[in-house]
Amino acid sequence: MTAVLEIRNLHVSIDGKPILKGVNLTVRQGEVHALMGRNGSGKSTLAYALMGHPAYTVDEGQIIFDGQDLLEMEADARSRAGLFLAFQYPVAVPGVTLANFLRASINARRKEANPEDKGISIQEFRRLLMGKMQSLKVDPSFAGRYLNEGFSGGEKKRAEILQLATLEPKIAVLDETDSGLDIDALRVVADGINNLIGPNLGVLVITHYEQFLNYIKPQFVHVMYDGRVVEEGGFDLAEKIQAQGYDWVAEKYATA
């Protein structure tokens, strides 16, 4: 059964300030969507709200995922249900190695499926992780480093994609995974994502920068402006933004 992420009339505020003002968006497993828009249009707020960050208050609307009401669930339950967020700014977790962290994440899933589960064996985990690291061209020494501590921008993003590859979610939201990457790193990360895209993974790529989309060809493109999705189309919409920028969007939807 194909999982569907359905965002209906979502209103979200931070500290009482409305940021999202009625977002409607549907992503199905196997589809690749791009969410574009200028800085401040609400893209990252949508990403955090989808994952259930406690600082983001949902004032109105619904998020339905795979038939479940996500708003009733905390971040961990949302993750175990198959939603993934690749963070724009992943935080450092001192003293916790990437490997330990991934193992704990996998075990959390197994435990949900079977409360008696004793966790993935070290050998099985090592095999799994090494395979994923190889396919993402990540150096094996990465696994023993403290999570995101002292990672370069490119390493952080690659670590996010490694997590995506290892946890195998149904729908992944990639929040500005392209930001801060040079052209070579961008290609590596995009290749990694492309290798994961398939019938079992739906992706919502958030970017304000269309170059990334040349590597990850989205079938659906959405443009946000002032807390709403205002334009929708195919890849041609991304090309239009590449050619013309966002000014026309602002002119068309400014409520002056």
Binding site: E74, S79, F87, V93, V96, F101, A104, L167
Partner: protein
Amino acid sequence: MTLRTRNKLIAPTLTREMVEQLSASKNEPSWLLNARLTAWELYDTLNMPSMQAEAWRRTDYTTIRWEQAGSLVQGSSAGVEVIPAENLAPLIGEAQGGLIAAVDGKIVHSELSDALKAQGIIFCDFETAAREHEALFRTHLMTTAVHPNEDKFAAMHAAFWTHGVFLYVPRGKAVELPLHSVFYNTTNGLTLGHVLVVVEEGAQVTYLHEYRSASGVEQHMAYVGMTELLIGERANLRYVALQDWAANANDIRHERARVAANGQLDWIIGTMGGRFVKQFAEIELDGEGAFGRMSGLFFADTNQFFDHDTQQNHNAPHTTSDLLFKGALKDEARTVWQGMIKVLPNAQKTDGFQANRNLVLSKAARADSIPGLEIEANDVRCTHAATIGKLEDEPIFYLMSRGMTRQDAERLIVAGFFDPIMQRIPFEEVRARLTAHIEEKLERMAQLA
């Protein structure tokens, strides 16, 4: 009320006759009795430490109920069988070269492998040491590392010590199997234990010492202890001391190591139990090229109070000290770490490092961290750091977004906090023991939440 009368009120009542009785019960030679009596004079003269003194102004020992904790424990018939098996079994590696156990201030078990005896290694209780190794024992007991006149507690210890372990490794001997001792208590009252380690020139040894007591005793107990570690030239001592007293325990301890030229000390301290802990732990780097490392790990919960008072004294050139204390706190626990690096004028080219990092897991817990440097030489490298942090929301959210429950996320972050100190402990089973303590304390938190 003046401070002096207040002091008089809270000092335990211990008499000269008690010294004489104690010494007689141990059949001690007259030099030892005389040493005790000299210390008793000191005890009787000294005031309890002033609450304004730097070492005590954050550390209120007046909460100790001396009417329960201040009388010497005697007549306990408990034997080695009351000690939990895990505290008798080897913890470092699979075998141990010797084991000494004391219960309620009385030695109940003492063994040393024949191989080590043949090497001339001495590992025995103090009564045996006084009887069979008088010269060695007398030379080192409270003469070099810790002196009876440090304060009233040191004098109390010197006059009334109840039990002790003497470890002597002669020149050039490398002890392969670790040695192990445990001080265990089952009742309220006062015991005063001592650990005296002499590692001669070029010798090497690893020594594990444990403190523990039975839970369920309501009345206060007090342990007024001393630890003396003497490391000779080019000698190497790895000393691991794990403390897991029950909730009624008060622990006041003077501990000092002296390291001679090119000697090496690796000192590991784990503090988990007790209601009130004041531990002076000091390293004197006396000879050129001496190296001293101290790694402390503590976790205070409920209303525990821990005070670790450390000193790294560089008394000679080219000496190196490296201290890291990491502690977590929860519930209404309070901890103090105060540390000083002191470099004498002649101690050029020394390298001193100290850091204390605290993780405060509840609103009502409080950590104080007071680093200090006193440097009289001009060509040295000394650094220090002190931090007090709490669990941050963002890492928790990040871990939860990967499917971990809040509890698992917090547990992983706490484990990560302790990881750098675990990395300094070269003994897997010691790490596992400490990890188990941490998890148990976190578990209790989870149950309350």
